[in-house]
Subunit: 352 residues, 2 copies
């Protein structure tokens, strides 16, 4: 169906009329000048926003719209967890170019709604507009944490343990894989055109993703780590500082150090890697530690805890102690497998 | 200065490091995964978001970036007032194409900050990204109203008076004026090129805006009507329903009627018009009532009050009673100067 058949108000209604608000804090959702929310005085309201632009943040040639919507919501949810909060509401603004049909927007929205449903978050508003250029998605997420529970980036202490959830570098490897298959496909299309054949006459393209499913899943459908935030709370651990990994471990740990006025030591052999990540890096002749440090889009949580929490944090499944915080003047260091020390850089690192 | 010289984090720091949070509710602003806010239990948190895309919502050929930023913030502030709330925080996401320089983004941000300063609103976060296409601006505004003070669109009652602030149609006339001067300028450039001259050799273009300053001001720097919301509160008037006029009086009054399950009668001769609006419509051979009904971008407040508030609402400067609400089955009507009744349409209206 063409979007013009529904019109702007019709489209919004079509996309949002099945939304049932789940949270008591969501007093009023889509349909007025503002959404109306209710928070208690002992809660802090957390707000985060992300802008995703076609060609910069995603490539529709290989990202299905349902996955794109899911990921767009997930990266915002992840920011709420990174403050030790719980997501409650989300607004969705989308700019749609003419080539989109109602079914496309439905798929995008279905992905957003699925991510929200998995995390108990209500879609409460947004804006839908025509776009003369590519697809634009702007999501704002609102969450809550009890006043004393908010964890910022600026309170890591010297000697705190530096911990990370999950494994790193897989989303970046997934991106490399998708890019590689795109090149193969585009080459087949070019060759067909040179032979005077229509691309439609080609046999269905079968991208070679076998044994690499985990990498694709990490790139296309990242998971915001509510489970880690919940396990930390259950274990009675209050991280001193926390951030989620969107730009890569190196960049994020530098934010923690700079805002907390500390240095750090990360041990290369402690950085958690999945087997598929290592195998793919090998295949592409890339250094897997570089991928883990700088790849980004992992949406894992990076946090610091007091040394006294060592045993409790070690007992949490899927949390890895990768180093510790030091005095600022000791620098931000990666201790390599051979014992050499490198200074971390936001992108890459150099020998000290 | 090129944006690449600063980098993403450098640019954000450059744009936001002079921000001082004004509201006690703004606990933490730019610089972490989320902004942290604090609201009291007797307050409702209001959230609104707007997406502005180059070529769809604005034309950089005649909109200065400072004005664009100002207006982008103002349209969000207006949504908060339309709920009878007060704006407190705002997030700014911008997608910048390569042709933008640091000075351009500064101008855009300066406009946003000026609007926020005028309305006591804190810039608490956002996102800055490269854009492969045009300029993208996504703003989310958060405000507050005491629980019993929130005014929605759905509680207008039969016989309520329908009121509007300010005057209507001027912003639309301002847009026509800017478009007309753009055509004149582009024509001069084309002719110069045809004569083999460089456009730079032309004398500075002097757009003819004399006597039309009000129309330009209404188009380029609309004012969110905090003053009206405050005067209503001072007068002890609690509107039964309210909306701001972004898409035009006709479209907005239809939202009030549909969500409140009422009809309405608007009297054409009561619709407030500025002299410049009427003169410009005459000059362009347009029906001024059509401009007021469908022009949009006035950002005036349209609201309903009980009949018993007639005298109090009449005493408020710059508020005009333009009609009243009726039973739904009586329709949504415009009573013309000659007494004829027309059915309102979201865009335009037709004879009954």
């Amino acid at each position: 169906m063409e979007i013009a058949e529904l019109g702007e108000f019709g489209l919004i209604h079509h996309l949002t009329d099945d939304i049932e608000l789940q949270n008591a804090e969501s007093v009023k959702g889509v349909g007025d000048d503002c959404a109306v929310l209710q928070y208690s005085v002992d809660e802090r309201v957390l707000v985060t926003t992300d802008l995703l632009l076609e060609g910069v943040h995603f490539d529709l040639q290989y990202v299905p719209l349902h996955h794109l919507g899911y990921k767009a919501a997930m990266v915002n949810l992840s920011d709420i967890y990174a403050m030790n909060g719980r997501p409650r509401q989300l607004t969705v603004s989308i700019g749609l170019s003419k080539r989109f049909r109602v079914e496309d927007v439905e798929a995008l929205y279905a992905g957003i709604k699925r991510a929200c449903a998995e995390h108990g978050c209500d879609v409460v508003g947004g804006d839908t507009s025509a776009s003369l250029t590519g697809l634009t998605i702007s999501i704002t997420c609102i969450g809550a944490a009890r006043a004393g529970d908010v964890v910022t980036r600026d309170a890591a202490q010297v000697n705190d343990l530096l911990c990370v959830s999950g494994d790193l570098g897989a989303a970046y490897m997934g991106l490399q894989l998708l890019e590689r298959e795109k090149v193969v496909y585009n080459q087949q299309v070019r060759e067909a055109l040179q032979r005077g054949e229509k691309p439609e006459s080609l046999p269905p393209f079968q991208p070679d993703f076998s044994g690499r499913e985990y990498l694709l899943q990490r790139q296309l459908t990242p998971q915001a780590r509510r489970d880690i935030v919940e396990k930390l709370a259950e274990a009675g651990i209050h991280p001193t500082a926390m951030i989620d990994i969107s730009d890569g471990l190196s960049s994020e740990v530098m934010h923690l150090c700079e805002q907390s006025h500390t240095g750090c030591r990360i041990y290369e052999d402690r950085i958690p890697l999945d087997y598929q990540t290592a195998a793919m890096a090998e295949e592409l002749n890339m250094n897997v530690t570089t991928c883990a440090l700088n790849g980004g889009e992992d949406y894992e949580l990076l946090f610091t805890v007091p040394l006294t929490d060592h045993d409790r944090v070690s007992a949490i499944e899927d949390v890895h102690i990768i180093g510790h915080m030091t005095k600022a003047e000791q620098g931000k260091l990666l201790v390599c497998r051979d014992g050499a020390e490198m200074t971390l850089k936001a992108q890459g690192w150099k020998a000290t």
